[in-house]
């Protein structure tokens, strides 16, 4: 099924969004990837290795869990796609396993990555350890402070974590630094981008590697509900890789309502927010044209969210197209409501979610879903890395 939502144009456009706006220094790398990624992904030997690692190393398929107490609370049928049970604690590893195999086939020996919450950094450090490859992860100085456990994990796994000291010292700046590293090391290095952002073909590549989430959802829903199609699929969006994976095989199923949840921070209009679909205008960030938070002069605005993984001023071009075409509904959730959702899921189902994921859970009350509706929330990651933050906000949570 190749359609406008699932597949960008040859030059990487979803409607007006996408493309590859990169300096000449990156052109050969990105072009090499563009010319080869589809063939490599389609290669049976690649698929065999990828599927085997997903099964035996990542722990797929992840369960689809019927959350009965949560369902009762919201008077609808809530299922949780348990990406938090993936090795390393989040969906991010689906992508890094695929990209490290791709990097090997491209003959690369050095891996770089950016990370916000640290989940992508850990997932990248993990697969580099597995494959014996050198790994350098860029992380904003502020994010290193708020996600200390993940910084230690990356180091334990043998990765070098480099602090991004420019700008807001968060995810956007870590991405800038990673791109600069790639410019400086154009021959031996592969950049494993962690979300559906960046120049074409990254948004498509990452979406295809994360699509395993919705592929499994369809099979599991058929078993559990008698239908492959839910009424709602809900996922949080920073750059948007877990949402892209959760939506992918439902993009062309108009009966399925797709709900993308962004971080509103202190409030959409507070000046401290990361709600790109509301606050953004078309612009160019990190090599693609997408919705982007920026001032009237085109300078990129510094986003804010309590969650390091959602603290990004853009969204992937696919999501910009989903927002623009109204195929997906975008909801913004404030920090406090996300924190309350952490407490709610922990108490009702015995699952402590990541702060990012908690934004998706906090949207449950706003869906308007009825008692017979099937709602799947992509439980993108677990909350271990966020315990320090949860302790800090214990008054709100407990």
């Amino acid at each position: 099924m190749n359609t406008i939502y699932q597949q960008p144009t040859e030059r990487g456009y979803y409607g007006q969004f996408g493309g590859a706006f990169i300096p000449e220094m990156l052109y050969p790398n990105v072009e090499e990837l563009r010319q080869q990624y589809l063939d490599i992904l389609a290669d049976p030997a690649f698929q065999q290795e990828y599927q085997q690692l997903l099964r035996d190393y990542v722990g797929r398929p992840t369960p689809l869990f019927e959350a009965k107490r949560l369902s009762e609370r919201y008077n609808t049928r809530v299922y949780l796609k348990r990406e938090d049970l993936c090795h390393t604690g989040a969906h991010k590893v689906n992508n890094t396993v695929g990209q490290i195999l791709l990097a090997k086939r491209l003959g690369k020996t050095r891996i770089i990555a950016e990370t916000g919450a640290g989940q992508h950094g850990v997932a990248t450090a993990t697969v580099c350890a597995l494959m014996g490859m050198q790994c350098i992860v860029y992380m904003g100085e502020i994010d290193m402070e708020r996600q200390k456990p993940n910084v230690y994990r990356m180091r334990l796994l043998g990765a070098e974590v480099r602090a991004a000291l420019s700008g807001s010292r968060t995810l956007k700046d870590a991405t800038n630094e990673a791109i600069r590293d790639w410019i400086s090391n154009p021959v031996d290095t592969h950049y494993i981008i962690g979300s559906v952002v960046g120049p074409h073909p990254y948004p498509d590549l990452v979406a295809r590697l994360q699509a395993v989430i919705s592929e499994e959802m369809r099979k599991q829903l058929l078993e559990k509900t008698g239908s492959e199609l839910p009424d709602y699929v809900v996922a949080c969006v920073g750059g948007g890789s877990n949402a892209a994976g959760a939506f992918y095989h439902f993009l062309e199923e108009p009966s399925v309502k797709l709900v993308a949840v962004e971080a509103a921070g202190h409030g959409v209009n507070s000046g401290h927010s990361a709600a790109t679909s509301v606050l953004g205008k078309p612009g160019i960030i990190h090599g693609s044209r997408t919705l982007l938070m920026q001032d009237e002069d085109g300078q990129i605005t510094e986003p804010y969210s309590i969650s390091a993984g959602l603290d990004y001023p853009g969204i992937g071009p696919l999501h910009a197209f989903l927002a623009d075409s109204k195929r997906a509904r975008f909801i913004s959730i404030e920090d406090e409501d996300a924190l309350r959702a952490v407490a709610e899921l922990s108490r009702l189902e015995g699952i402590i979610p990541a702060l990012e994921t908690a934004h998706a859970l906090a949207a449950l009350g706003q869906l308007g879903a009825g008692p017979d509706d099937v709602v799947v929330v992509n439980l993108s990651g677990r909350g271990d890395k966020d315990l320090e933050t949860y302790l800090k906000y214990a008054d709100t949570i407990l």
């Binding site: 300096p23 000449e24 700008g167 300078q299 990129i300």
Partner: protein, 259 residues
């Protein structure tokens, strides 16, 4: 009038193109800097339009951009500052260098019109893809007599170099090696020379300026052995840091490179 072509016709060898960020070190330094750089002997002047996230630039230029934005520099202010610059500096080619997003928000056609009215000769937008330039902007640039400058790196394939050479009528910006602006040259001996010689042997129609990692008299002269001239940016910005007389510091810097 094609000031860029005139500059290369007049000098042919050893041309110095200097880059500085508009609005740095202080907001109103732009015009005094253009004048003093020209008087000190710079052959071309490249004005950086500051951007919050300059991907192809190193820390020195990024810091100058951040400071310039804090000083209140933006495209409207810059074009106001440049009004009348051609009365002061009639012949020196002036190029604007920046990133696509601020230009797009300003409006590409507005940008071209204002640049042309100010007497700007060329534009360097490193993240503007060639295909997009050809499909959407080439005709507009021509209408306003603005010449695009494209970058070439050691990894740029020969057929792409030929295409770039066909698409412009100014000069080719040879990035000296892998890295962002202001970086040290860490390549093995001979690698860079081989690249420059390979480009020279292609007998391209446009002259070449070598940029990235050129910062003093010695590196400038070395670059000039392999091209018509070179581009200096970060080293000039460093020379402007902390000075309260930017035009004088700029003039001293240019003299130290040329004399």
């Amino acid at each position: 009038m094609n000031r860029i072509k005139n500059a290369f016709d007049k000098k042919q060898k050893g041309l110095l193109n200097v880059y500085f960020t508009a609005g740095y070190p202080s907001l109103h330094d732009t015009v005094p800097l253009i004048k003093s750089l020209t008087q000190a002997g710079a052959d071309l002047i490249e004005i950086g339009m500051p951007f919050s996230d300059p991907l192809a630039d190193g820390p020195v230029i990024q810091a100058s951009s951040t400071a310039a934005l804090q000083n209140g520099m933006n495209m409207r202010v810059l074009f106001r500052q440049l009004e009348g610059i051609r009365n002061e500096v009639p012949e020196t080619p002036i190029l604007l260098m920046g990133y696509l997003n601020p230009v797009m928000q300003f409006g590409v056609e507005n940008f071209c019109r204002e640049a042309a009215e100010a007497g700007v000769d060329g534009v360097i937008l490193p993240d503007l893809p060639l295909d997009d330039y050809v499909a959407e902007y080439q005709e507009m640039f021509r209408r306003y007599n603005l010449r695009p400058v494209f970058l070439i790196t050691p990894q740029t394939a020969p057929e792409r170099i030929r295409r770039i050479d066909e698409l412009t009528d100014s000069f080719l910006y040879l990035v000296s090696g892998p890295g962002t602006t202001g970086g040290a040259n860490t390549q093995a001996e001979g690698v860079q020379e081989a690249y420059f010689e390979r480009i020279e042997a292609m007998n391209l129609r446009n002259p070449r300026l070598i940029g990235f990692g050129i910062g003093d008299k010695a590196s400038f002269q070395r670059a000039c052995e392999y091209a018509e001239g070179a581009i200096i940016g970060s080293a000039l910005i460093r020379a402007l840091e902390g000075t309260d007389d930017a035009p004088a510091a700029a003039a001293r810097f240019v003299s130290s490179v040329l004399n």
